[in-house]
Amino acid sequence: MEERLVEEFIARRPDALGRAYEQYAPQLIAVARHAMGNAAAAEDCVHDALLRVWRTPGSFRPERGSLRAFLIACVRNEAMSTLRGSVRRDARERRAALLDPPEETTREPLDFLDAERVRAALARLPEEQRAAIVQAYFKNRSQSEIADHLGVPLGTIKSRISLGLRKLQLDLGEVRAT
């Protein structure tokens, strides 16, 4: 079923966009909501990200990986761009964002099993890589904000994030295979 959706998405069958959303909505909404903070902004973010992909024929090829992971990354990028843009536009928002980071939530995760495995894999990372990834992904901080926060050069932050994510990939890769 997923295969067929991917084929139709690539062929830009008109109903494939709506169906791709329906198929991956929980993840797409969660990713947008985590960065944007409220439901309306998250919806707009998913809408804009998916339309942007839809209007760029050839942006997704199966050799890249799954359509699901690609769309999740598109939404994440849309959300972070909007966040950075609004932060730049208004210094007050920036201060507010730093004073008031996304609240710890008691909501259930998208997937309990994966959440536990992510937690365990993060715990196995070297502390400096773990901290960089947590700041970047879970705290929605920019590279330079992380560099400031952790007091290390920007280049070091890039390397820690890259290295850390590749280690997670090796660690979590086995999870997806089962």
Partner: protein, 236 residues
């Protein structure tokens, strides 16, 4: 590997693959990566793998209710009639030095078009050069009306303008200091369509629709909130 010539090799994605997948790169850096992976299967795979890992991280994010309204919005946008899709919006970014003239009178607007049109150098670095040339040429050659969009709320202070062809064949929206998540809506024959988001880049945002189909209204929305609109009249 055949797809790795020297030019591509110099710009391999490297650790930016992981930063891309986590949403840490600016639009310009992402565009460079998109262009690179279109011709480099090694980097395409690395970006793809980073995205798969990021997708697993996403599984630990809090779950929220999914909106069926969004499915409808997307289906509507993807199913827009053929003539709209053929003339799907083209985003045209003008050089910043020109933009104040867009908000002055007709003569200034015409002068700005002439300046812009002869000042191609400013556009040379942009990938959509051809599109911009076509857009500006169309505007410069045409007879058109112009109108300032009225803000939806008295407290709003958005400055936006629409130039549109006398025969309704195209329109051109210019927004100064656009609000977040901006959308352009057009009403043609009583049917409202979401023309989607222009790219956000800098202080001025413009959207050029080359075959517009005689719209009667243009509305700007920030997310789902209307922020400004104009009724287009075509009196001789």
């Amino acid at each position: 590997m055949s797809d790795m010539n020297d030019n591509i090799a110099r710009a391999h994605v490297g650790e930016n693959a992981e930063l891309y997948a986590l949403g840490l790169l600016e639009a310009r850096e992402r565009a460079a990566i998109d262009a690179h992976v279109a011709g480099c299967s090694t980097c395409l795979r690395r970006v793809g793998e980073a995205e798969e890992t990021a997708a697993i991280l996403a599984q630990s994010l809090p779950r929220y209710a999914v909106s069926p309204r969004l499915a409808e919005r997307l289906a509507r946008a993807a199913n827009a009639p053929e003539q709209v899709r053929a003339g799907r919006p083209v985003v045209v970014h003008l050089p910043r030095r020109v933009h104040p003239a867009w908000f002055a009178g007709m003569a200034a607007v015409a002068a700005a078009i002439a300046i812009t049109f002869s000042g191609y150098e400013t556009f040379r670095e942009r990938s959509s050069l051809q599109t911009e040339e076509v857009a500006l040429a169309t505007v410069a050659r045409s007879h058109f009306f112009h109108q300032t969009l009225a803000n939806a709320a008295p407290s709003d202070s958005l400055t936006a303008k629409v130039l549109y062809a006398r025969d309704g064949a195209w329109f051109y929206v210019i927004v100064d200091e656009p609000p977040p998540a901006l959308h352009v809506m057009e009403t043609v024959g009583g049917v409202e369509r979401d023309l989607g988001p222009p790219l956000t880049d800098g202080r001025v945002e413009t959207l050029f629709v080359p075959n517009a189909g005689h719209p009667s209204q243009i509305e700007l929305r920030s997310g789902s909130t209307p922020v400004a609109s104009a009724r287009l009249t075509y009196a001789p």
